[in-house]
Symmetry: C2
Subunit: 342 residues, 2 copies
DNA sequence: TTGTAGGCGTTATCAA
DNA sequence: TTGATAACGCCTACAA
C-alpha cells in the first residue's frame, strides 16, 4: 500500500472497478451523481490499487492547484515562523498545500506573479511589508489579478483583504499601562516608519502622553530599527541623560530586551530603576529576566484567519467586491518588567 | 507585464514569433538546438507576451514537479524554522519550489507518500524524527521509493542519505569544557531517548565522566523531555539535594534556561553558584541572562547541505547506490553561564 | 534546423 | 446513471 512500481492512474482504477474513468472521477468529486452500488465498487478499487489523484493533471485541467503561496520577509524570525505554523495547519485542514517564498523583496513583481501565471499557486498570503504600494495594488486588483490576503504592521493603502492588528490603539493601551502605574516621566524607543508615515505605535504613544498632559521630551525619544542593537543604542543615550525617565515603552520586544540588558550591564536594574514595556510578546519575552511586560501580538490567530479568508476568497465564499479587513486586538500582558510608582 | 487577462501559452508565443510551439519549447530547454536568429525572435516573443511556463502542464508531461517537500515536527520551534529558512533559500537558488508539511506524525506513511504519488513533489527533506524506522526504510528504498534526505538528532537506522551532527562527540566536548574548568561534581539533564536507545548526548556525557574518573551520581542525573518545563523540574530536584553538583550539562538549551531561571527564583545565581552548559545554541541563548554557554548546532548549514544533497540526488548527480551521509561538527560557544573553579 | 503529432492524467460536455 | 470524447499546456520522438 505504501508504494507501487508506478503510480496507478484513474484508468487503472476504472478497469479494476469495470467502469469508465469518467465515473471514477465523478465518485471522487461528485459522489451524489453516482449510484450507491458503483460508488462502492469504485471505492474498493481505489483502495485496492492504492490510487492517489495526480495533482499535476488535475491542476492542468482545473486551472487550480489547491495550493497557496506564502511570502515572508524572513522565515528565521520567530515572529513569522509562528504565523507560518498556523498557516500550514489551517491550510492542511482545508485541503490545501503550502508553498513558501522567502525574501523575494529584490524583484517582487516578477517572482510573485510568476507563481500564479505558471499556475503553481491559487492565492497569496503576503506578510512582507516591503512591497511597493502601487505594485501591490496592481497585483491585487490588476487584470489577471492574484487572490490575496495581506498582513503587515501597517494597514496597506491598496484595496486588499487584510488581517491586521490596530497598532495605534494597542500602543495607546501600552502607554496607558505605564501612566496607570503612576509614571509621569516616560520615554519611547521609536520603531522605524514606512513610506514616510510615522510609526503608528509612536503615534499611539504621543496620543496618550498628550491626553495625560505629560511632557514629551525630545531627548527621551530614542530612534530604533526594531533590531536589538537599537535597544543597546537607546540605553547608551539613556545613560548619558541628565534627567532620566522612570519608564520606557519600546516599540517592540527585541529593542526592549537589548535596552534592559545594556542597562543591567551599567548597573541599572529593571524594574527597580526603570520600568520597561515592549510590544509583540515574542517567545523570549516570558523567559527573559525580568519577564517582559508587553502587548501580545496574536500571531497564530493572524495566520489562521488570513488562511481562512484567502480560501474563502478562492472558493467564492467571500464577497468579491469588498475585500474584508479583519482587525485583531493585541492584549496587554503584565509581567515583571514594569512596576508601580505609587 | 505584471499581468494579462489570461496567461499566454506556448502557442501564443509561437504565433508571435512565427515558429512552432516545439521550437519555443526547445529555445526554453535546449537553446543550443535552435539557430541564433530564431532563438532571438523567440526570446523577444516571450518577453513581449509575458509568457511564463505552466508548471502544471510541465509537471504532468515531465513527471517531475521541480518542487521539494520538507516535513517538520514543529515549524513554530525556532530550531526548525532556522533550518527551513536555509532550505527555502537554497531550493530557490537551484530553481526548486518548496512545499511544507507540519506535524504529520499521526499517519506519516499515507500523507507523505501521497505527495509523491500525486506528483506534487519530487523529493523529501525529513526533519521529523518521529517516523517509524521500518516505515522510513520502506519509504526510502521500497518499490516506488521517494528520493529523500533526513536530518535527525540520531542517525537513522535506515539506508538513507542524511545530514547530521555527531551528538555523542559534541556532548563529550561539552562535558570536557566543564571538566577543564575544574569542575568535578557534574550533573546532567538527560534528553529523551528514541527507540529505546540511550540519548547520545547522555552517552557522551558518561564517556567523559568515566574518562576523567569522576563520580556519576544517580541523583545528579535529571530526566528531561527537551521542553523547558523539565528544566524547571530538574531545578526542583536539584534544590532538594543534600549535596549539589557545581556544574550541569543540559542536553539542550531550553531545559538549561528553565533550570537557570528556576534556580534564580530560589536565590541561586548562575554562574556564581552553578555553571550550566546547554546544547543547540538557540537564538535565546545569547540574549539570556547570563548568556548561555552552549554547543552551536549548525542549523543553517544543515538546511543548506540537506537541500543540496537532495537536489543532487534528484538530478542524478549523486551516486544512487551509496546514500551519502554528511556529519557536521557542533562548536563550543563559551559565554557567561560557565565559570572556572580554579 | 524546424514542424507535426501524440500523449502525460484529469475533468467537463454531450449523448446514450 | 453511465460512457465516449475532447481539451488543459507542455515536451519529445519522428519526419521533413
Amino acid at each position: 500500500m505504501v508504494t507501487s512500481k508506478k503510480a496507478p492512474t484513474i484508468q487503472d482504477v476504472a478497469r479494476h472497478a469495470k467502469v469508465s474513468a469518467a465515473t471514477v472521477s465523478r465518485v471522487l468529486s461528485n459522489p451524489e451523481r453516482v449510484s450507491e452500488a458503483t460508488r462502492e465498487r469504485v471505492h474498493k478499487a481505489v483502495s485496492d490499487t492504492g490510487y492517489t489523484i495526480n495533482q499535476a493533471a488535475r491542476s492542468l485541467r482545473m486551472r487550480a492547484a489547491k495550493t497557496i503561496l506564502i511570502a515572508l520577509p524572513d522565515i528565521g524570525n520567530p515572529f513569522y515562523s509562528t504565523v507560518l505554523d498556523a498557516v500550514v495547519d489551517e491550510a492542511a485542514v482545508r485541503g490545501y498545500s503550502l508553498l513558501v517564498a522567502n525574501r523575494f523583496a529584490g524583484d517582487p513583481s516578477r517572482l510573485l506573479s510568476d507563481y500564479f501565471l505558471s499556475s503553481r499557486a491559487d492565492g497569496l498570503i503576503l506578510l512582507d511589508g516591503g512591497v511597493d504600494t502601487t505594485l501591490l495594488q496592481a497585483l491585487a486588483t490588476g487584470d489577471g489579478h492574484v487572490p490575496m490576503v495581506v498582513s503587515f504592521d501597517e494597514a496597506p493603502k491598496a484595496d486588499v483583504a487584510a488581517v491586521l492588528i490596530d497598532n495605534l490603539e494597542a500602543a495607546e493601551r501600552a502607554t496607558e499601562h505605564l501612566v496607570a502605574l503612576g509614571h509621569t516621566k516616560i520615554g519611547h524607543i521609536i520603531g522605524p516608519s514606512r513610506n514616510a508615515a510615522p510609526n503608528p505605535r509612536f503615534v499611539g504613544f504621543k496620543n496618550v502622553m498628550a491626553r495625560a498632559k505629560l511632557e514629551l521630551r525630545p531627548e527621551w525619544l530614542f530612534p530604533g530599527t526594531y533590531a536589538m542593537d537599537s535597544g543597546l543604542a537607546a540605553a547608551e543615550a539613556f545613560l548619558a541623560l541628565p534627567e532620566r525617565p522612570t519608564a520606557v515603552f519600546s516599540a517592540n520586544d527585541e529593542m526592549a530586551i537589548g535596552f534592559v540588558a545594556a542597562l543591567r550591564n551599567a548597573g541599572l536594574e529593571c524594574p527597580r530603576d526603570i520600568s520597561v514595556i515592549g510590544f509583540d510578546d515574542i517567545a523570549i519575552a516570558r523567559h527573559f529576566w525580568p519577564p517582559l511586560t508587553t502587548m501580545h501580538h496574536p500571531r497564530e490567530q493572524i495566520g489562521r484567519l488570513a488562511t481562512e479568508s484567502l480560501i474563502d476568497i478562492l472558493e467564492g465564499a467571500a464577497t468579491p467586491g469588498a475585500p474584508r479587513r479583519i482587525t485583531l486586538r493585541a492584549d496587554l500582558v503584565v509581567r515583571g518588567s514594569t512596576r508601580s510608582l505609587r
